[in-house]
Structure formats: structure tokens, C-alpha cells
Symmetry: C2
Subunit: 475 residues, 2 copies
């Protein structure tokens, strides 16, 4: 990696910026030659693993257990719930295990793989709640244009599938899923809106669907997690039945939750990045502090020794630290760690050693400053917090500024790249008309994180409004 | 889980024992209804993750980086190396992305997915060595009888793929791979033999293949890891070329290494388990110490408080500890944690509290004893070591006793359930004859961990022996 020109302007040319950063920061290689499939490179995998660990630990700490189900689903399983198969059949990859045998689908999502087994595992209320998750890849024969990590035919996620005695418990789980997602996104410094999707836009087979949307730099929103209340829509065809406390047979109430790891990585990359590369908050930074020794002839030993000493002190307070003592020139190192988004850099040269000082650099604001060596730990921990606060504020600010209230069809048509808040009649035809006439604005649903009261008629058709919804262009 | 009858005798009825333990310890569910695909349950996943973490950290600490390649491989990639495709084509699952498009294989192993990309990433000697690994599932349309974790159509492993400037460096990597495997197996308390496979038994496309075999309770061996020197056999067709220090174009020398996570789990389960369930050494035990409070009416509070105190002390020394304060009876808890192999149990009742003592139980030897409360940490750490030593000794002893030297055809034919050490002529026909006439004895190759000099003619055909080999029945 050698110093090169800056990246394109992210706000004006998001697509170009995104392709370039994926390539130059060595995150993704798109040259695999199969539509919709890309290679995840080490710099991306380290971020992916941090996101994954955060979500997995959060699920486990709330009583979920990990499982691994087969990647293939018999087509007869997939077809058991009518809305579900209608939603997915067109886009599943099919394989045949043996001539004459049933066709198998490469899992597009795992409800129909898992629930036949739930029927075998659940007998009584004592087996409930059953809270399981798996981490892995799923497959959908996406026909639209693909974009690495954002829309592809293979993506990496977690899916949690839970079963309960009743609706109330299941809805409490939905709230927990929302809390898990919020906690993670806060650690990643990402602004978000949480909506309940409209009736026709729910997950195929769900009673209720809730989704997290993030705002991407081009004004489109990206759905990065969903959680669904499935009611008994799957537990009936799959016969997931338990004996309740009164000895009566009942269908379990189910939920499923899918935080998208690839998409969260895409959001972190896109929302925080700038023309110098990635910008990462500590919690998703594989290296949190890089130490660059700047040796002067004859003083190499002292400089390296000091760098190692600083590294040891930071490791003691659990900061992921790297001393880059390679032969590259300091400038090339600065460039490289800025490109991969390392949040803080410490430069140590002869002067720093003799004056017992350290030169700090913060990636998010690209500022350099000096502190007394004895302040090391305090300084790093202070800026760790401050970096997250800064990224969060920036991202919240952008989201806030992007949301506009509109009252008429004309305003909606002119709302280029904005997220719309509008009164809505609730009719699917109206939503379809909006999408068609505005070249892509989709009714995303009503915010549950900031509910609003209707203040007028449907902004599109003028009939009585039933709710206030978010409309936006979306990935 | 309620106390039930003991499991079948592992040595006499291994198959029955294995099926029952997988079911009763809730490790695997075989009722998924697709041949060769099973469900990994939480008690197994926790073990799988410990094995996985051990191997991944070991690879990373030796300079490997993690990647994730697509699960599909274009058939034209798979066909680029002739021996490789001949070895795998019959058993790949094929899917078609679109009508008219090229067929895709579900990866049976990832050489042909990864090396086209290596050709794009490697330009100069400065890009070498390239050491990458991925963790995931692979797919082979196994036609023989399947056995969960041992032989299936989907299995979970790590594959590391490395590229070097020359043969010497590549062979040094092979030694490192062997070291990584040895280190892991030592932590898991497993005895093993390391062999170099015969010419006709190498990995399809390899110059040299080295394999780790473990001895299963029924006398068959199980291959749990292989590492291969590929030479330039893939770098030629895939054109993985670098400019050397003299400016000359050269093909890289490659290695690939595949420790099987599912199979290591199968070995841990089978080799250490007994008629009461799993027996785990600390390093693969999800819970290392379970504390069972035995409350007496009126004294519940003191007993629970003491249990919590012991838990805190153990967590401080990084022992994975669980207090099971559930409503089940102590006997049911003892049964349950013995079944899932928890290495140590601490019982705390009223007497223990008042006498400041703790009652310990060790799973591997099933012995109970008492110690002073103040000895807690020392006692746990001492027995942690001792349990590993005991399991290792047991397993080494069994392996040692299973190996017999033979000198004649008759001896070989009568060597039921033994691992054979014999002089061998080196001819494939002779090996095939042995397999056929002995109902399954396979020449596994020559031990590299304990090389032996030829001491006589080929035990089977009587002609001049070229080497001493191991022959065994194998999974």
C-alpha cells in the first residue's frame, strides 16, 4: 500500500467511493467471477468477527444457545408455510442430492429447516422458551444489480429463532431483539431508525415485522436487521406443539431475528468512512491503537524500546495495540493505518523519548497533539469514548437532517435523497403508486422508536391517513 | 434429562454407544431427513467453538489471516487441475445459478476457489508468504454409510492455504501445520499417529500428504487432520506466479492444511467418553467446574451464598464455572453434568459451609473427596493438569497397546481390531490386495512421528520391503 490519491467524494459519488474503498482497504475482492458472490479479505474479516462476537455474546448473555443446521432444506419443508414459500421460492438455489430424490434448496433463511426439529424438541411448557441462534451464510438468487456486502447472493448473518408459550412472551422477545440491535449499533456509532413494516412488506410468514434502517451517504436507507413476530403461522404447519400448565395442547408462538453482519459492516464502512479511508470506532477496530516508531540513526533501540513499553501498557488496559516496526517509511505507515481506519496512532521518535512525551493522532478528526507519557492510559481511554461520541453525533446529525416532513404529492416528488415523514392512508396500492411515480420511494413503515401522531390526510392520495410513515429510497 | 440406565459398553458396542451418547448428551440430532446432514445442538456447538478457537488462534499466532470465500465454485475452476477434479468430481453437489450459465459446485474443498484469486494477489516475492485460512463447511456427496461428525455430506473444518517462494519454505510450513495439530491434540488429551500417505492415497493434486490418525474405541482409525505439500501442481494451471529477487518469473510452492473440527469433536467424544457420558479435559469443556448447592431447609441462603463465593473465586483465575441453583434434585444434576462431561464438580451443603470445606468430584475417575475451602484454587488447578494427564495417558496407552508388529499374511489376517506395523513393498496392488483379503485393512502410510527401519520382507507379498507402514481399518 503506497500513498495514492484521495478517494472520491463520498457524498457526491457514493458508488465510486464505495467500490474504491473496498478495493484499496483490501476489504472485498469482486473478481470471483460468479454473479453476486465476492471474497471477504482479511481486513474485512477482522471487522466482521468483531461485529459477530458482539452480537453472539449479546444473544448468549440473554439466554440464547448456538446451533448449526444443515445448509440444505428439502423443498417439501420450504413449502410447508404458504406465504413463506411464495416469498422465497423464486430466489432459491436448488440442488439435487441424487437422481430421483427430492430437490434441496440452499437455505435462503432457516425457519423451515429449524422448525421441524423444534416440533421434535418441544413437548411441554417446561421446554419453553426455546431460544436458539446460528451464525452463517444464506443464499438468495438476487436478480437485481448486486453490491458487495449490501446486496448479494451469499450473505453472512446471524439468525435467532425463539419459541414461547404465548404472544405476550414472544412480543417481549421482539423488544429484546430490538434492544440487542440498538446496543450493538450504539457501540458501532451508527444512527438508525426502527420501523414496523407495512402489512404487505412483512417477512413472508410473519405476523409483524420490525426493521432497522440506516442512512447511507447517497440518501438511500439500508435495512441491517429485522425481527419478526411469527405468531403460530409456522408452529401450525410444522406442528410445534406443547402441553401447557393445564395439560392442554397449544401451538408455540415464535419469533425470528436476523441481524445482518455483512450489512452492518457495509454500514460501518459507508457511514463513518471518508476520503482517506475507513474510520472505525474502537469496538469494531481490529487494531485500536497503532504505534509508529520514527527512528533516527543511532537511536533506533531507544525508540523501539519505548514503543514496546507503550504497547505493553496499553495491552494491560485491554487495548488492541500494534507496533509497526517494519521497514516502510513513517508516511507510508500513516497512510496505511488511516486507510484501514485505525482510530488512534501514537508516533514515537527521538524527541518523544527524550522529552517523555507521546504524539497522538486521531483518525476521525485527523488531528495531531502531544501529551506527557504518563498520561497514556487516561488519554487513550478518554479519546476512545470521545471518538465514539463524535462518530455517533455525526451520524445522528446526518440522519436528523435527512428526515423531512412533507404534506403533498409534489413535495414528495421533489424530495430527492431525503427520508420522508408523511401521513399515509395505509393502502398498498397507494404505496405502489408512490414507488412508481417517484422512481423508487418506498413506504418503509411507521417508526416505533419515535412514534408520531397523524397530522393530516395521506400526503399522496389525500384520503384519511391512518398513520405516519417513513418513505425512502432503499437498498 | 433424568437419571437413566448407563450407556452401552463403549469398547464392545461402539456404534450403539456413539449413537446413544450423541442423542442423550444432546450433541447431534440425526432426524433432519436428508442423508448425511445432521443438526449440531448447543452442547456440541460449545465444544466445536472451543476446538475452533484453539485452532484459529494457533493459525493467527503463526501469521495466518482469515478470509471467507464463496461456497460455490465454477466447474471450470474445479476442472483446472486434472488429478484434483478426478478425485472430487463424482462427489460434488452441483447447482445451476441461471439457465444457460455455467454449473457451480458446492465446495468440496477450496483450492480451486482460492487459487485464481491468489494469482491476482501475488505479484512479487514481497507478497510472499501468503498465509490464509477460512473456517466453514464443505460438501461431499458421500455414498458410503454416514456417521454423524465422522462421515457426512456436510462437515465443519478449517482450511489453511499458503503460498511460498520455494519448496523448502513450503515444507517448513508442513512441519508448522503438524506442530499446530499436535499442540491442539495435546490440549485435548488425544493420542495420535502421524503418517505420510502412500503415493496413490494422497490428496488429489498433492505432491505429499501427511495425516493425523486417532484410534477409535472399535479399533478403527479416524483421520482428523491432513496437510499437503502441493508443489507447483496448482500454481501452474492457476498461474500463481511471482517475480523473484532476481526479477525472474516463478511459480509459487503451495501447501494446504485441513484440521477437521467435526472429526476432532468426534474423537474427543469417542476416545474419552465412558458409560456415564462425555469426559472432557478442561480445554474443551464449556463448563469446567459446576457447583451444585445442596441446600437444607432453612439454610438455603448460606449455601447459595457460599456457592456464589466459590464461583467468583474460580472466575478470577479464569475457570469457566457454573452454579446450578435450579430446582432439580442434586442427583439429577450430578447425572446431567456427568453426561455432558463437566470435568469437576463441587458440592456445597450445610456441612461444607459450617466446616469450611468443599466436596470435589472428578468426572474422569469418578471420585469424590474433601478439601479445605482455602485450598480451592490450588486444588482446581492441580486437578486440571492431572485430568489432562490422566486422559492423555489412557489414550496413549490404548494406542500403544493397539499397535502390533506382524511379519506374515496370516498374522495380518488374524489381527482383528489392531493397528498393524509391517514391512511393505510399496506397491499399490499389494495394498489393494490387503484391503480386499483382510476385509478392510488399509495401508495408511509410514509414521513420521516414530520412523522405523525395515526389518524384513513385505509382510504381504514377501518381496523386498521399501518401508515400514501402518495398516488399519479406517473410517
Amino acid at each position: 500500500m503506497q500513498p495514492e490519491r484521495a478517494l472520491p467524494d463520498k457524498e457526491k459519488q457514493f458508488s465510486e467511493w464505495y467500490s474504491e474503498i473496498l478495493e484499496r482497504a483490501e476489504l472485498v475482492d469482486i473478481r470471483y467471477n460468479v454473479k453476486g458472490f465476492v471474497v471477504y479479505r482479511p481486513n474485512l474479516m477482522r471487522i466482521i468477527n468483531l461485529i459477530r462476537n458482539e452480537l453472539e455474546s449479546s444473544l448468549i448473555s440473554r439466554g440464547h444457545q448456538q446451533v448449526m443446521f444443515p445448509i440444505v432444506i428439502p423443498m417439501s419443508y420450504l413449502r410447508k408455510e404458504q406465504e413463506h414459500v411464495t416469498g422465497f421460492e423464486a430466489e432459491v438455489f436448488k440442488i439435487r442430492a441424487e437422481e430421483g430424490e427430492e430437490e434441496l434448496a440452499l437455505r435462503p433463511t432457516s425457519e423451515t429447516a429449524m422448525y421441524p426439529m423444534y416440533a421434535l424438541w418441544v413437548h411441554s411448557y417446561r421446554d419453553l422458551p426455546l431460544k436458539l441462534f446460528q451464525t452463517g451464510t444464506v443464499y438468495r438468487k438476487e436478480t437485481r444489480a448486486t453490491k458487495p456486502l449490501i446486496r448479494g447472493r451469499e450473505f453472512f448473518w446471524i439468525e435467532a429463532h425463539d419459541a414461547f408459550e404465548n404472544k405476550e412472551q414472544a412480543l417481549t422477545q421482539v423488544i429484546e431483539d430490538i434492544e440487542i440491535t440498538k446496543e450493538a449499533l450504539r457501540k458501532f456509532g451508527l444512527a438508525f431508525i426502527v420501523v414496523e413494516r407495512e402489512e404487505w412488506d412483512k417477512f413472508p410468514g410473519a405476523e409483524k415485522t420490525f426493521a432497522f434502517d440506516c442512512l447511507m451517504p447517497d440518501g438511500k436507507v439500508l435495512q441491517i436487521a429485522t425481527t419478526h413476530y411469527l405468531g403460530t403461522k409456522f408452529s401450525k404447519p410444522f406442528e410445534v406443539i406443547y402441553l401447557d400448565r393445564a395439560g392442554e395442547k397449544k401451538n408455540v408462538h415464535q419469533t425470528c431475528f436476523g441481524p445482518g453482519i455483512s450489512r452492518m459492516a457495509a454500514a460501518v464502512i459507508s457511514i463513518h468512512g471518508d476520503e482517506f479511508g475507513l474510520v472505525l470506532p474502537f469496538d469494531v477496530a481490529p487494531i485500536q491503537v497503532v504505534i509508529v516508531p520514527i527512528p533516527k540513526e543511532g537511536k533506533e533501540k531507544e525508540v523501539i524500546a519505548k514503543a514496546k513499553e507503550v504497547e505493553e501498557r496499553l495491552e494491560k488496559i485491554h487495548i488492541r495495540t500494534l507496533v509497526d516496526a517494519s521497514d516502510e517509511r513513517p508516511g507510508a505507515k500513516f497512510y496505511k493505518y488511516e486507510l484501514i481506519g485505525t482510530p488512534m496512532r501514537i508516533e514515537i521518535g527521538e524527541r518523544e523519548v527524550s522529552e517523555r512525551k507521546l504524539t497522538f493522532f486521531r483518525r476521525d478528526i485527523r488531528k495531531r497533539w502531544e501529551v506527557e507519557e504518563c498520561e497514556l492510559e487516561v488519554e487513550v481511554l478518554k479519546h476512545k469514548e470521545d471518538i465514539l461520541k463524535n462518530l455517533t453525533n455525526r451520524s445522528n446529525e446526518k440522519l436528523k437532517n435527512a428526515i423531512v416532513r412533507i404534506n403533498t404529492k409534489e413535495e414528495l416528488k421533489e424530495s430527492n435523497n431525503k427520508i420522508i415523514l408523511m401521513n399515509f392512508c395505509g393502502n398498498q396500492q397507494c404505496a405502489e403508486r408512490i414507488k412508481y411515480d417517484t422512481k423508487g420511494y418506498e413506504v418503509r413503515g411507521s417508526r416505533i422508536d419515535k412514534p408520531e401522531d397523524v397530522w393530516g390526510p395521506c400526503a399522496w392520495c389525500g384520503s384519511e391517513a391512518k398513520k405516519v410513515v417513513i418513505a425512502a429510497r432503499a437498498y
